[in-house]
Symmetry: C2
């Protein structure tokens, strides 16, 4: 395996890029070129997720889409996301929690690229080490791609501690303490919503394309605080429709509220808590609504968290100072 | 609407049938002919669920499959199941809980059949009345077809009280007190298992056709006692596979254990409890294993519960004595 390179940060006047940052997920490939000043100088997004690449074809696919950037002599190319999974370019073993930023950097998986650019895959993280795994009391959790967003959001907040939420197909709630990721939990919220809307009996009385009905969403959120299991609560959506208490648009919002409400029920979302929410604007908006409803503050981040995370690794590798403030700054 | 008929029970020597009992579900049509002695003299099962019948075509479809029995001058024809739903022959409004046997009989929906045989649809039941419905604190639950099995199982046990379980696509847990159905809960266990195995990421590392792995099933059961929500616990199945802790056959059993374990977690299944389990032998076996694991006793019933329920309604309408013992009989 190639060794990590040793280099210093490029001087701001250098015309060559500092780095190429890539997020290569299951269904999409996104990249940015970052110049010597640390500014994003170009962005690319392609529908070429890892599922679209044949085994063994990753180096060629990457050169096809980013060869011109690699030819510009960047100091570093970093790849995050499912590209480091068993189905990706090369498997980057999960970095177990608790893990700080240095641990993650030490576990970067360096690749040998023909273009000669130092290139590494950011490892995913696991909530437990392999030796702790047990099907009842030691069930592990895993993420790939979210870790870089978490690092980025903490950097952007200038924070060492916090509760972070990455909503999506599989929502992740992450605890950070003293700049370490200490634990996290995955909820299959987005996938369950899609499955239920498309394939279950709930779909018969549900319009998943309708705009959010806030009142129904909040009703679902509140109902989800019940100690009943989700497999029972879900059926309530159907029964309420049969009784005319929810129309199809309301049913979709109610179902969304149920699923998201179950996340809130089991996470530390006491009134007054602050949660960093990282994701697409639609999801961030919906989760922010939920968090506000229970009295929490939501701090929103989008793509910038991913690229800030990549830059933080560059900074670490080039040993420039990474700011590590002691606590969250006061809010404006 | 036709009025309920008044008649007395046929004498045992009468060559004509006492009744035709029909269970007409979403995907199947089953019926038995019961002779004047109260014995089942013939059975039929057809893959002609209500979804296979065009609106307005129920009387013809029924005559096609059971016309010869109707011509034999039975005293009564009873239909249970989804045939009484909005998509069925005619909608029989839900009978709200708590409801005893008389209440259910009073709400039979009588049909006007050309053959002149007194024919009624058994109503489904709802956990709440329409006026009590509220999307947060008054979420209703519904069943159709299970109510007749519950009545039948109570008759067969000679019991007025108990906890009854009807596993399936939508598992129902039912409380009976003093011969009344006082409440029930539905769990989307079977449907969720099928959705997750066929359409979710869990399906990638899961063999749903494999035989039950008891150890993995029990691990799932135990894991499901966690206060975490199902949408988190489900993802554990995936993570355990990634860590090599579950193979595809074990994953299927573990997932089944998780879903069934969540039912047990929220129902009164203290050690020493007795639960009547009514359903197909495969499901009854699996739930019995789960109940035994937590120290409960499972009393198994199959089809006979359905037909005993139909007979109990005949007995009630003909005013013969329906046995109403005070408690569960001692076990052999």
């Amino acid at each position: 395996m190639p060794k990590p390179p040793s280099f210093t940060a490029r001087t701001p006047g250098d015309p060559r890029p500092r780095m190429i940052a890539i997020d290569w997920g299951t269904t999409s490939l996104r990249g940015v070129r970052i110049d010597a000043q640390g500014q994003i100088s170009e962005r690319r997004a392609l529908p070429q997720g890892i599922l679209q690449v044949a085994p063994g074809g990753f180096a060629d696919a990457f050169a096809q889409h980013f060869g011109d950037w690699l030819a510009e002599d960047p100091q570093l190319c970093l790849l995050s996301g499912m590209v480091g999974s068993r189905q990706g370019w090369q498997e980057a073993p999960y970095c177990p929690c608790p893990a700080d930023f240095s641990a993650l950097c030490q576990q970067l998986l360096w690749l040998d690229l023909p273009q000669g650019v130092p290139t590494a895959i950011v490892p995913g993280m696991s909530s437990l080490a392999q030796s702790q795994v047990d099907a009842v009391h030691g069930v592990p959790d895993v993420m790939r791609g979210e870790e870089i967003q978490i690092i980025g959001a903490l950097q952007l907040m200038g924070s060492r501690d916090g509760l972070l939420l990455l909503p999506g197909t599989h929502s992740k709630w992450v605890q950070a303490q003293s700049s370490s990721i200490t634990g996290f939990k995955t909820f299959m919220t987005g996938e369950l919503f899609a499955l239920l809307a498309q394939h279950s009996i709930l779909g018969k009385t549900l319009d998943s394309s309708a705009a959010l009905d806030e009142a129904a969403f909040i009703q679902g959120l509140e109902r989800a605080q019940s100690p009943d299991t989700l497999s029972h609560l879900l059926f309530g959506t159907r029964a309420l429709s049969l009784f005319g208490a929810l129309d199809p648009a309301q049913s979709a919002s109610y179902l969304s509220g149920l699923l998201i409400g179950q996340e809130l029920r089991t996470m530390p979302t006491a009134a007054g808590s602050r949660v960093a929410v990282i994701g697409s604007s639609t999801l961030v908006q919906r989760y922010s609504l939920a968090l506000h409803h229970v009295g929490c503050e939501a701090v929103a981040f989008g793509d910038e968290a991913t690229w800030a995370g990549h830059q933080a690794i560059y900074d670490h590798l080039t040993q420039t100072t990474v700011s590590t403030p002691q606590s969250l700054p006061p809010q404006p």
